[in-house]
């Protein structure tokens, strides 16, 4: 990642990608960074593919993409949160709890599609809980969501009695459609993931809400003076995270046909790491939705690469965690040096 980042960055930004997005100032500034991560992803796939050509089989690659979907969608919401200088540690349990609620409704005989909508609404409710706690009590979201992490975990385990929930009749349209693969290759969930990424990218860079998120995250005082209702924007962002968690959870039930009691409990690290690798800083101010998607793919490629290299499965938790951290370390070091150059330049202009 360190080496591949540099040279292609300039080339890409000034030619193809730059030209396509000529009218937008923000995108032209952002894209180079995403291009760097993209190159890293391609190199990584190439390296693994060179060693294990089986890895490059489209079916395998699309399976990787499909597997990233559920955490990947969460990371898209997390981009908004980091951009506005918030964080949500409870995403994994929001995902789980919404999935459990949707699955329980299906067990109770609800139409799966309605249950999915209910799951999304429930996720929004959980996000609203986080948001209201954080805003009315004026607590940092890291504290609130550390607390709701435990709350949602407890309540989810109360509702499913600590057992997996298996909705009946997994042959209805909901389950068959969501777990389908188009042309037998491209998972439907992956398409939803990609569409959501594109949509949220546009929301961040082309809507008033997106502008406000970045403005508040960058300089809350100035945003307030510019007439932006800071608290409302923060609340909206936390609710958005809940909606996405609800969507991801409900789709997961359709995809797997069940929800395990602990599923999602360890998502938060992967989700935040993907966002950071993608180029969104923890310090807020801007975010890159495509970056988060690519970051999630990098993590997933490494994870499945580990399997291809035949590393003992009992060690996979450790190796995955370690690889995530190493990836973030390398990424931060690259960014640090780039930042230093940029700073040096700025000093001179002051």
């Amino acid at each position: 990642m360190t080496k591949t980042d540099q040279a292609p960055r300039r080339a890409l930004s000034s030619t193809r990608l730059g030209a396509r997005s000529a009218p937008s100032a923000r995108r032209r500034l952002r894209l180079p960074e995403e291009a760097g991560v993209l190159v890293a992803l391609i190199v990584m796939i190439a390296v693994i593919g060179f060693a294990k050509p089986r890895f490059l089989n489209p079916i395998n690659l699309f399976t990787v993409l499909g597997n990233t979907t559920f955490q990947g969608m969460l990371s898209l919401g997390m981009v908004y949160l980091l951009a506005i200088r918030e964080i949500d540690l409870s995403v994994g349990w929001m995902f789980n709890f919404s999935a459990v609620v949707a699955a329980l409704l299906m067990v109770a005989g609800a139409n799966p599609w309605l249950a999915m909508i209910a799951g999304i609404a429930f996720g929004a409710l959980l996000g609203l809980v986080n948001g209201l706690l954080s805003i009315t009590l004026r607590l940092p979201s890291i504290i609130v969501t550390l607390g709701t992490f435990s709350m949602f975990e407890g309540l989810s385990l109360v509702s499913n009695n600590g057992r997996a929930i298996n909705p009946p009749d997994p042959t209805t349209s909901y389950f068959t459609l969501i777990s389908a693969k188009i042309f037998g290759v491209v998972p439907v969930v992956a398409i939803v993931f990609v569409l959501l990424t594109v949509a949220l990218h546009f929301v961040l860079h082309r809507t008033r809400f997106g502008y406000r998120v970045q403005a508040v995250g960058s300089n809350p005082d100035a945003a307030l003076l510019a007439g932006i209702p800071n608290a409302l924007v923060r609340l909206q962002t936390l609710v958005l995270m809940g909606v996405i968690a609800g969507l991801s959870g409900s789709m997961y039930v359709g995809f797997r046909g069940a929800i395990d009691p602990q599923e999602g409990s360890d998502f938060v690290l992967t989700v935040i790491a993907a966002v950071i690798i993608g180029g969104t800083p923890l310090s807020g101010g801007y975010g890159t939705v495509f970056g988060a998607m690519i970051g999630m793919l990098i993590i997933q490629v490494i994870a499945s690469g580990i399997i291809f290299f035949g590393i003992d499965a009992t060690w996979s938790t450790f190796v995955t965690g370690a690889v995530i951290i190493i990836a973030v370390v390398l990424d931060q070091i690259v960014r640090y040096h780039r930042q230093r150059r940029a700073n040096a330049q700025r000093f001179n202009e002051n």
């Binding site: 964080i87 540690l89 706690l133 009590l137 004026r138 607590l139 940092p140 890291i142 504290i143 609130v144 550390l146 607390g147 709701t148 992490f149 435990s150 709350m151 949602f152 975990e153 407890g154 309540l155 385990l157 109360v158 600590g162 360890d266 938060v268 690290l269 935040i272 790491a273 950071i276 923890l282 009992t314 060690w315 938790t317 450790f318 965690g321 370690a322 995530i324 951290i325 973030v328 370390v329 931060q332 070091i333 640090y336």
Partner: protein, 348 residues
């Protein structure tokens, strides 16, 4: 400005209000639980508070430097399990050696956190969320799902938590509790009187200024993580002594109680201010809530949910109390300042 306002800072009154919260909590649970006001309850709460306190002291140092360590629960579990296994297989091991091993294991895990944060330049949240998973993962992988059981441990370790150091009437002050108090006193004095400890405050208070005057930021942050790891290792040993039975799940979720204790205890989550004694009071409140809920006998799943909620309430009421106090103080100061307007800036 009253005499009180001139001589006492709002942060100090808040520590008093925290004591008040603890008393309220005790009365509340006392009215719900029969036989709550006994020494047995006190001892239970005290030994739980002792473990949270020791880890919270370490967490305080990390939070002071504007970082956070979410991996403490895993470090506690990790040391509790491995020191337990070691003692179980070598029953003749010297107790002090065993404690030293626990502290060293914890410190070594803290070194990993510290290196990644200081020299890897990765945000502490990410690093410690990662090591939270990694340490627990290694523990699960290496243990082969075996557990440490009380009957495999030597007698001194089983007796340790019952060891009565300071009998006051029929009230026992037990070894673990005293150990925690000693740690608090040591670190309280240390954070006030040691030059290098003042740097924890300086760095969290204004990192840019710290950088500019050349404070060794990386080594200070590193040190904070190592100390936090070492104290978590000690906490792991205390957990082993207290429970005897240690599964791979030991200490899971402890980070929530510890971070909550630190925040409730008045340590600014954005660094720079807070005291070790405050963290101890916070730990006392959180420990009381935990143990009392446990005594209420609700299901373990509900326990999680209610505890999460209560901790949030505690943090929130604490924040609100401090806000009110600060506002009172500022208003008093403003009155003073309007009398001498040239001294006043026009910040909105």
């Amino acid at each position: 400005m009253t005499w009180l306002q001139r001589h006492v800072r709002p942060e100090q009154i808040r520590e008093l209000s925290l004591l008040l919260l603890i008393v309220v909590a005790i009365f509340f649970f006392g009215s719900l639980i029969d036989g709550y006001y006994t020494f047995r309850t006190f001892n239970r709460i005290a030994s739980s508070v002792a473990i949270i306190t020791v880890v919270a002291v370490g967490q305080t140092l990390v939070v002071l430097t504007r970082n956070i360590d979410l991996s403490v629960g895993s470090i506690v579990g990790f040391t509790a399990y491995f020191v337990g296994t070691l003692i179980a297989s070598h029953n003749s091991i010297n107790p002090f050696f065993a404690v030293a091993i626990a502290i060293l294991i914890g410190a070594a895990l803290g070194v990993v956190n510290g290196v990644l944060v200081s020299w890897g330049r990765v945000p502490a949240v990410v690093v410690t969320l990662g090591t939270l998973a990694i340490y627990r993962g290694v523990l699960v992988d290496l243990s082969g799902a075996k557990t440490v059981t009380t009957d495999s441990l030597p007698q001194w370790l089983i007796d340790l938590p019952l060891l009565n150091v300071l009998p006051i009437g029929s009230l026992d002050i037990r070894a673990l509790f005293v150990l925690a108090l000693v740690i608090v006193v040591l670190f309280h004095l240390g954070t006030i009187y040691l030059s290098f400890a003042r740097r924890f405050y300086a760095i969290g208070s204004n990192p840019e200024a710290a950088q500019l005057i050349g404070l060794p930021m990386k080594s200070v942050v590193f040190l904070a993580f190592v100390i936090c790891g070492a104290l978590s290792g000690l906490g792991g040993f205390m957990m082993l002594a207290r429970f005897g039975n240690i599964t791979v799940e030991a200490g899971r979720g402890l980070e929530l109680s510890v971070v909550a204790a630190v925040v409730v205890g008045g340590v600014n989550i954005f660094g720079g201010s807070g005291t070790v004694t405050g963290a101890m009071l916070g730990a006392a409140l959180i420990g009381t809530l935990e143990q009392s809920l446990f005594r209420l006998g609700i299901s373990e799943f509900w326990l999680n949910a209610v505890l999460g909620l209560l901790i949030l309430l505690a943090v929130a009421s604490d924040a609100i109390i401090l806000q009110r106090l600060r506002a009172l103080w500022t208003r008093a100061e403003l009155k003073l300042i309007v009398g001498a307007p040239e001294k006043r800036g026009t910040q909105p």
